[in-house]
Point group: C2
Chain length 252, copies 2
């Protein structure tokens, strides 16, 4: 099949990268997913080394992660990633997270666009490097729902204000994509996060936010295991929206 177009990356969970339950921190896992996407696109001729001279950059538009269980402290695991489809403005990528023996413990999907770094206008993906991306797509399956639209629903619970700091900011001067995920999970009380695991997480990136802005995290409850969070820059423009689905941990 298309197995030769699937990138396979071996990772290991550092003891400083796990949460209080011993599971890999969601931010660390998210970073791994984005990082292997970069390595894989580089290998196949449409990575940043091709885009940078064109004054273009990959921008993450949506991401979803679904986990049967999280990689644990010290655990070695694989992330596999592959191109699913490419259109004029968006490309879809799939991921499988596998334990050392090759058994799937989770999946992820991401949707990407390419923007011009100055104008911030989207670039036709089919024109980059003579349409090289098209030949890299596979029919490899990723058996989870695509990233949801994150249309806001549920009952409003509360708002948390957060002023962005230096460590939130990436090399482009924007709040790092992964930092929204960390700050979103931090809205939940420890009792909840100790007794539940995050089963599925969806995030849609709407507008960039910057250093020193105050982000308003509005939390909504869809039901006692499903929540939505809308983040607004200075309580005006939407920056990101996300949906979290939890599962109670088995009592030992």
């Amino acid at each position: 099949m298309d197995n030769d177009k699937v990138g396979r990356y071996l990772l290991q969970t550092s003891p400083y990268h796990v949460d209080v339950n011993g599971n890999i921190s969601i931010g660390v896992l998210g970073n791994h997913l984005l990082n292997v996407a970069g390595l894989h696109s580089e290998e196949y001729g449409f990575g940043m080394s091709v885009l940078q001279p064109l004054q273009c950059t990959w921008v993450l538009s949506r991401l979803c992660i679904e986990l049967y269980r999280s990689p644990l402290q010290h655990e070695s695991f694989w992330i596999e990633t592959w191109g699913e489809s490419v259109y004029k403005l968006f490309s879809n990528r799939g991921y499988a997270i596998k334990d050392a023996s090759g058994t799937s413990i989770g999946y992820a999907k991401s949707v990407w666009a390419v923007l011009h770094t100055e104008s911030r206008k989207p670039i036709n993906l089919l024109t980059i490097n003579e349409g090289k991306m098209i030949g890299c797509m596979t029919t490899h399956s990723c058996p989870i729902e695509p990233p949801n639209r994150n249309n806001l629903r549920g009952e409003f619970l509360r708002t948390h204000e957060y002023k962005t700091v230096f460590s939130d900011i990436d090399i482009n001067g924007h709040v790092n994509s992964i930092k929204y995920i960390e700050h979103t999970l931090d809205l939940f009380p420890m009792e909840m996060l100790k007794t539940h695991r995050l089963k599925r997480y969806d995030i849609a990136y709407v507008t960039e936010s910057y250093y020193g802005e105050t982000l308003f995290f509005h939390l909504y409850e869809v039901n006692h295991l499903e929540y939505m969070v809308e983040v607004k820059r200075n309580n005006e423009q939407v920056a990101v929206r996300s949906t979290l689905i939890f599962e109670p941990l088995a009592v030992e």
Copy 2:
């Protein structure tokens, strides 16, 4: 010489792990240092797999990092680490950070103790695994000053209050050692951090802090390139103290 007792670990800086200047985030570098210390001690028979069954754990007491330059985005680099000396209550570890060609770009030193996980009492390091640690020490040189005592000095500037959240907490239920470093650097304005690089960083860990506590970061200026930060739990007990020495970046 003792080169066979030096651990060498190859790392690469992910694009999501750099700051606005394109330098590796200090928290990411700090995590790498602690992580390779764990891997190295494991290899030499005094790692967590030996300590855990004894209900003991390594605890970081002090750390200093001195950089001539930081690893950049996508850059591959080496961290070498070795045992320097071991006493009854503390052991000293050295690190060299080297570029891909083997040229040193920085050094670090750390001081560790072993505590009983229940009583939190220190354990005599010379008794662990039949004193195995002693034979692992090297005379390898680390040409920087040892971690300073961080005795508070300078002129008080301001206090920042920070309530700890889920992502600050490690598997032991304490604030992660590295999170103090990140939050400390976040006290400085972007203008300062964009025009200066952190040349040397020293931190001393005094007492553990926990989820939901408010940490008071008291900032002192020693001179316009040197600062001290004392962090107090609920403004009472000292949690950590640190010293930061900056260097102006050359104007291009």
